[in-house]
Symmetry: C2
Subunit: 332 residues, 2 copies
C-alpha cells in the first residue's frame, strides 16, 4: 500500500515558504508484529510545529529533513497486527502530515467515548483544549472571580481559555485581530480588544478601558506588543501562563523584549512557561471536567477546515496569518 | 532640639544629581504622648529608594518633595514618652536620612539580642539579608544541590544570596564587575563572572563555561544584559526570583527587554517578582535561621561605610556606580 506524506527539505529562516514542503509517496512495508496501518481522517496543524522546523532542539526534537513530518492525527485502523487495536478502531496518534500511517500499538490512543465528532479529539478535547485548561488551572492557578486576559483569544487554545475562564466568573478580556474574531468573542460574553493598528501604549489604554481594575491572570499566546501591554495592566500578585509567543515564531532575528519587564517586580507577578506534554498525566482529569461540557454543547468550539492532504502546508502557514478561527484542521 | 534631615526638591529623570538633595534643619516640637526621640547612629541607603524618587506610586508611595526623606536607621532613644521604649533602648525604624528622629512607639522595633554589631540589623540581619533569604527560599524555592546564579553578587543582597546558596551545595556562580568584587566571590567558593566589556552573547558563554549544566535558580538583582544571558543558561524548570533590576533604575526612557524571553517557555521556567515587605511576617523565621550564622561568623558580610550625615546622598548615589561592596551604610 502507498502512503503519501509531507517532508521539509530545509530548516527555514523567517516565515516558511510554501515550497519548503514536498509531497512524497512511498510503498509501505508489510506490517511487523504489533504494527497497525491507519487511514487518517483528520490532521492537526499547530503553531508549535514551527519550533520543530528550526533545526534546534528546544523542548522537542526538530523535524528530520526529508522524512515524513509528524503531528497529531485521527484515523481508523485498516489493517492490524496489534491485538489491542483491531481493524475499525478509531485512534489518535502523532503520524500526521500523511494519508496512511503505519505505527506500533504503543504509539496509539483509542478515542474516548464522548458523543462528539471525532476531530474534537484534535481540538477542544485534544492538545489545544488540554493546553487551555492546563494554563488556566495548573499554571496560572486561576481562582473563582479572577479577571482574566487572553491573547490570541479566538485561536484554537485562546477560544477555549476564554470560555473556561468565563465559566468561573470575573471579567474576561480577549485580544484578537479581525472583526469576525472580535464579534465571536463578544457573542460569548468576552470583552474583545483589537491589537490592530495599536502600539503597546494604545493597546494598554484599550485594555485598561475594558477592565479598569486590572488582571489577575494573563494567558499568553502571542508575545510582542500583547505582552508589553498586558504587563502594564496586571494586578498585584498576577500570574502569567506563557503558552506561546506566536508573534515571534517566524522571526529570523530576535526582536527586543518588552521594555516594561520590571512590572513583574512592581506587581510581584509570576510568569511561567509551560509545555502541555509535561502535564499529560492530567489528561484524564481534563477530559472528565471538559468532556461533558463539549458533549452537552455548553462549550462552543470552532474549526477552520482545509480539505485534502495537499492543503496541509497551506493550513499550517495560515496559522501565522491569523486566518483561522478556533482549531485549524485538514480533512482527508 | 534641632534635627537635620535631607529632602529632595524634585522627582529626577535619569541619574539623580547631587544637587537634588538638600540638607535642612528644624526645631523638633515637644514630645507628644507615645512619642520618642532617637539619636540615629547608622543610616541605610538602598537601591529601592530610587523608585520612591520617581513621583509614581509603584509598590510604595513616592517620597514627598521637600519633606524629610525616609529609610531604615538604627539609633538610641534619648527621650521618651513611650513606656515600651525607655531612654537608652536601641531601635530600628524608618526615620533615616536625618540625625535626630521623632517617632511614635508603633514605628519602632527593638533590636534583637544577637551578639552582633548594631548596624548588622540594617544589612545581613535586616532588609537585605531578609531579601536574600526570601528570594532563595520562598520565591525560587531553592533545593539542596541546585545550581544557582546571582547577579549583583557582591552587593548587599547578592553577597548574602551567594553564601546562603553555597551552604546548600550545587554550583554557585556570581556576576559582578570590579576585580575586587570578583576576588571576594572566589574567596568564598563562588565562581565569579564579570559582566564588564561583555554583551549578552559573551556573558552567556562565560556563564556556560562556569556552569555547563545550567542553572536551576537565578537570583536577579540587575536586569539588562545579565537577565538576557541568564535566560540562555536556565535548566528546564528553573526559577527566577526578581529582586531588583538596578541597571534600569536611573533610565529616563525604558530600554527594550531581553530578546530571548521565549526561553521562559522553552525551559518551562518561572519568573517571579517579589517585595520583601510582603514577606515580613517571616522575619522571625529568617532571624532564627540566619542570626546564629552571623553571630558565629559563619556568614561573612561586608559593609561600605560613609561617615557623617552630610555624606548620605553620596552614599546613595554610589550604589548606582557599583562602588559599594556589601551593604552601603552611613555612620553618624
Amino acid at each position: 500500500m502507498q502512503s503519501r506524506y509531507f517532508t521539509i527539505n530545509d530548516y527555514p529562516q523567517g516565515t516558511p515558504a510554501r515550497e519548503l514542503f514536498e509531497l512524497h509517496e512511498q510503498a509501505l512495508p508489510a506490517l511487523a508484529e504489533d504494527e497497525v496501518r491507519i487511514r487518517n481522517t483528520w490532521l492537526s496543524v499547530d503553531p508549535y510545529m514551527r519550533g520543530r522546523m528550526s533545526g534546534v532542539k528546544t523542548y522537542i526534537a526538530p523535524f528530520e529533513l526529508n522524512a515524513p513530518l509528524e503531528g497529531a492525527a485521527i484515523g481508523e485502523v485498516i489493517e492490524s497486527r496489534a491485538a489491542a487495536f483491531p481493524v475499525g478502531t478509531k485512534v489518535r496518534h502523532m503520524g500526521g502530515w500523511r494519508d496512511i500511517a503505519q505505527l506500533t500499538g504503543d504509539q496509539l490512543e483509542p478515542l474516548p467515548a464522548f458523543d462528539v465528532p471525532e476531530q474534537a479529539y484534535l481540538g477542544v478535547l485534544g492538545m489545544p483544549g488540554m493546553t487551555a485548561w492546563t494554563g488556566l488551572k495548573r499554571i496560572a492557578e486561576m481562582q473563582e472571580g479572577d479577571n482574566v486576559l487572553v491573547s490570541g483569544a479566538a485561536g484554537a487554545v485562546g477560544s477555549l481559555a476564554v470560555q473556561l475562564a468565563k465559566a468561573k466568573g470575573g471579567t474576561v478580556v480577549g485580544i484578537a485581530g479581525s472583526p469576525d474574531k472580535l464579534e465571536w468573542l463578544e457573542s460569548h460574553g468576552v470583552k474583545a480588544v483589537s491589537y490592530r493598528d495599536r502600539d503597546a501604549t494604545e493597546l494598554t489604554e484599550a485594555l485598561q478601558a475594558a477592565c479598569p481594575e486590572g488582571f489577575d491572570v494573563y494567558y499568553e499566546n502571542v508575545g510582542g506588543t500583547c505582552l508589553e501591554a498586558a504587563l502594564n495592566t496586571l494586578r498585584v500578585g498576577a500570574r502569567i501562563a506563557v503558552c506561546g509567543m506566536i508573534a515571534r515564531y517566524n522571526e529570523a532575528t530576535p526582536s527586543p523584549g518588552p521594555s516594561n519587564l520590571a512590572m513583574i517586580l512592581i506587581r510581584r507577578a509570576r510568569m511561567e512557561g509551560f509545555i502541555v506534554f509535561d502535564h499529560w498525566a492530567h489528561y484524564p482529569e481534563f477530559l472528565g471536567e471538559v468532556g461533558p461540557q463539549v458533549e452537552s454543547g455548553q462549550l462552543d468550539y470552532t474549526e477552520t477546515v482545509e480539505e485534502g492532504l495537499e492543503r496541509t502546508p497551506d493550513a499550517f502557514l495560515e496559522l501565522f496569518e491569523g486566518a483561522n478561527r478556533g482549531k485549524m484542521l485538514v480533512r482527508l
